[in-house]
Symmetry: C2
C-alpha cells in the first residue's frame, strides 16, 4: 500500500513526460504523473485534448493486478476515488448517478425480475442497487479482477455492502467465458457494468458478446450495458446500436445520465430486450418507491426516480439523429 | 493580440504558483498558468478540488477589459474557446447545448413571444437562437462588456451572427440599471445569460434584480436565467429558488442540461413566470420545428427538441428534494 508521502513523488510533473505519454497514447503506467502537482488527471486518447483533474489528499492503494492498474485515493472534494488504468471508475460523491441508473433503468422496466446477472461491477455498487428489488431471488456477478473486489471491500464500504446480500453469488472470471457456459434463457436481466473498451473490457463491446447476452436472457429479458458518452463516442455508440439492432429482436434504446467525474460529464446506457413479452423502457412498469422498504436497509435513493427514468431516454437532436436513424 | 509563442510562456507551470493561487482564491490574472503545460485549466473556489482542462493550440486574444479578463484560444478538440476571468463561457463544440436550451426553454413555453430582452449574452449565441422565432419582433440585448461583443464578432462568427439580425438592438451597459429604466410589463420574455456570481454578474443572482425582472415582464411573461450546477451549487440554487418563489407569482421551475466544458458537466436554468396567463414550462406550447424555415437561415437545431425540453425539468432525487421542497 502506498503511503501519503508517495503523493509528492507520484505527482512530480514534467512537461516532457506528459508529451511522451501523449505520443505513446498514454498506455503506460504513468497516468498519475501527468497532472497538476498534487492532482490526479484523466488523460486518454478516448477523449483527446481534454482532461479532468481531482485534487489528491492521500493515495490509499496502488497496485498492478493481473489485468490492470488499480489505484484508490482520497480526493479533497469527491470522497474516495477508484481508478482503473488511469480512468475514474467510481467516486463516493457521484457514484449514485451511475449505479442507480444502470440498475433501475432495466429492473424497473420489467415486472418482477427474479434472476439477475451483473458482468463487471466488482466494486459492488450495482449489487447494492439490484438488492433493492425484493422480487429478485438470485444475483450473480462475474468480475474478472479479484483485486477490484478486494479493494472495494477495504475502501468503499457503501459500495461493497452489495456483496453482503445473501442473494449474491460472486464468480471471479471472464465475463465472455461465463456467459457462454450459461444455459439459454437463464436471466431476466443482465447488467454490464464495464470499464472502457480499451483494456480488459474490450470484448464487452463486441458483437459475439451481445449474442451471448441475448442467448442467456429469457424471452422479453433485458440488458443494460455501459455505452459511453454521446459527446465523445458517437461512432462507438453507432456501432453498438447497429450490433444490437441485429441481435435483439425486442426493443433497442439509448439512455444517458450525468456523472461529473466521467469524461464530458455524461455516460450512456444501451438498453435492449429479447423477443418475447414487449418491454417499453421509457415507461417503467416496476417502479421503486423512493421511500420504500428498500430504503430502510440501503438508505434512500439519491438519484433515480420514475421521472428521471423516462427523461433519460430523451436525446439531444445531434445524438437522436445518429442513434434513431433507422427508426 | 497574443501570438502563438505566448502559449509556452503562458503555460509555464510551477507547482508553487498553483498553490499560491489556490491560497488567494485564484482571484488574480494567473488563471491560465495553473495548468499542465500547453493546457488551459479551470480552477476556482466555485468548484474546489476539481479542474477541467483543454489543450491549447494557440492563444488568439488576451486583454483585460474594464470588467474582466477576456481570452480566446484555439483548442485542439473543442474549437475556439472564450474565457472570462479564467472560466470557460463558450466553446464552438458544445455551445449549442447551452444557447439552444437557455433560449428555447422559455420561448417555446409561451405562445407568440414578440418582445425579448437578453441580459449578458454578449457573444451573440442566444440572439441567434431567439431569432429562430418568427413571432419575435424586437430583441433587445444589454451586455456590460463591449469587449466580449467585439471579440465574438472577430473570433466566433457562428455566435456573433446573432447581432446581424435587424430585429436586434444592442445596448452596452449594466443590466440592473437597464432593467430599472424599462417600463413595467415591456417584455414577453427575459433571458439572463450571465457568467458566475463572482465578478461582474454578481448582482444578477440577487433579489433586487429578480424584482426588476418581474416588473419588466408582462403578466404571464417568462424569465430564464443561468442557474449554476446541481452537482456543485445546491446552496446557491436553493437561495435563487427561495427568492424567485417570493417574487414570481406564476410558476417556478428548475431545468438542466449537459455542457461538457462547464464544471461538473451540467448547467441549470431557473424558469419563472409572472402572475397572469399560466405557463406550464414542462409542456411547450410553441414548438420549434426542428427542420422549419428558421433552419434554412441559421442551420438546424443541434441540441434542442420538444422531448428534451420536457426532460430537462426532471431532476435527480437529491436535487428535487431541495428545489421542490415547498411544493
Amino acid at each position: 500500500m502506498a503511503e501519503e508521502s508517495d503523493v509528492a513523488a507520484f505527482t512530480t510533473v514534467a512537461a516532457k513526460r506528459l508529451r511522451e505519454e501523449e505520443e505513446v497514447g498514454n498506455k503506460g503506467n504513468n497516468y498519475i504523473s501527468t497532472v497538476i502537482p498534487g492532482w490526479f488527471s484523466q488523460i486518454s486518447l478516448m477523449w483527446p485534448g481534454e482532461a479532468h483533474s481531482l485534487k489528491v489528499e492521500k493515495i490509499l492503494f496502488q497496485q498492478k493486478s493481473k489485468y490492470q492498474d488499480v489505484m484508490v485515493f482520497q480526493s479533497s472534494t469527491y470522497g474516495k476515488v477508484l481508478i482503473l488504468d488511469g480512468v475514474i471508475q467510481v467516486t463516493e460523491r457521484d457514484e449514485r448517478a451511475y449505479t442507480e441508473m444502470i440498475t433501475h433503468l432495466p429492473l424497473c422496466s420489467i415486472p418482477n425480475p427474479r434472476k439477475v446477472l451483473v458482468i463487471g461491477g466488482g466494486d459492488g455498487g450495482v449489487l447494492r442497487e439490484v438488492s433493492r428489488h425484493s422480487s429478485v431471488e438470485e444475483i450473480h456477478i462475474c468480475e474478472i479482477d479479484a483485486m477490484v473486489v478486494d479493494v472495494s471491500k477495504q475502501y468503499f464500504p457503501d459500495l461493497s455492502v452489495g456483496f453482503q446480500n445473501p442473494r449474491v453469488t460472486l464468480h471471479i472470471g471472464d465475463g465472455v467465458t461465463y456467459l457462454n457456459a450459461v444455459s439459454e434463457g437463464t436471466y431476466d436481466a443482465i447488467i454490464v457494468d464495464s470499464s472502457d473498451p480499451i483494456g480488459p473490457a474490450k470484448e464487452l463491446f463486441e458483437k459475439p458478446f451481445f449474442q451471448s447476452v441475448a442467448k442467456a436472457l429469457r424471452p422479453g429479458g433485458v440488458v443494460c450495458t455501459q455505452a459511453e458518452s454521446i459527446w465523445l463516442h458517437m461512432h462507438l455508440i453507432e456501432n453498438i446500436v447497429a450490433n444490437c439492432r441485429q441481435i435483439f429482436k425486442g426493443s433497442i434504446n439509448y439512455a444517458w445520465t450525468t456523472v461529473p467525474t466521467y469524461p464530458s460529464g455524461v455516460i450512456g446506457f444501451m438498453l435492449c430486450s429479447t423477443e418475447g413479452p414487449s418491454v417499453d423502457f421509457k415507461h417503467p412498469v416496476n417502479p421503486l418507491d423512493e421511500n420504500g422498504s428498500h430504503s430502510k436497509a440501503k438508505g434512500p435513493l439519491k438519484f433515480y426516480n420514475s421521472k428521471i427514468h423516462s427523461a433519460a431516454f430523451c436525446l439531444p437532436s445531434f445524438a437522436k439523429k445518429v442513434i434513431n436513424k433507422d427508426q
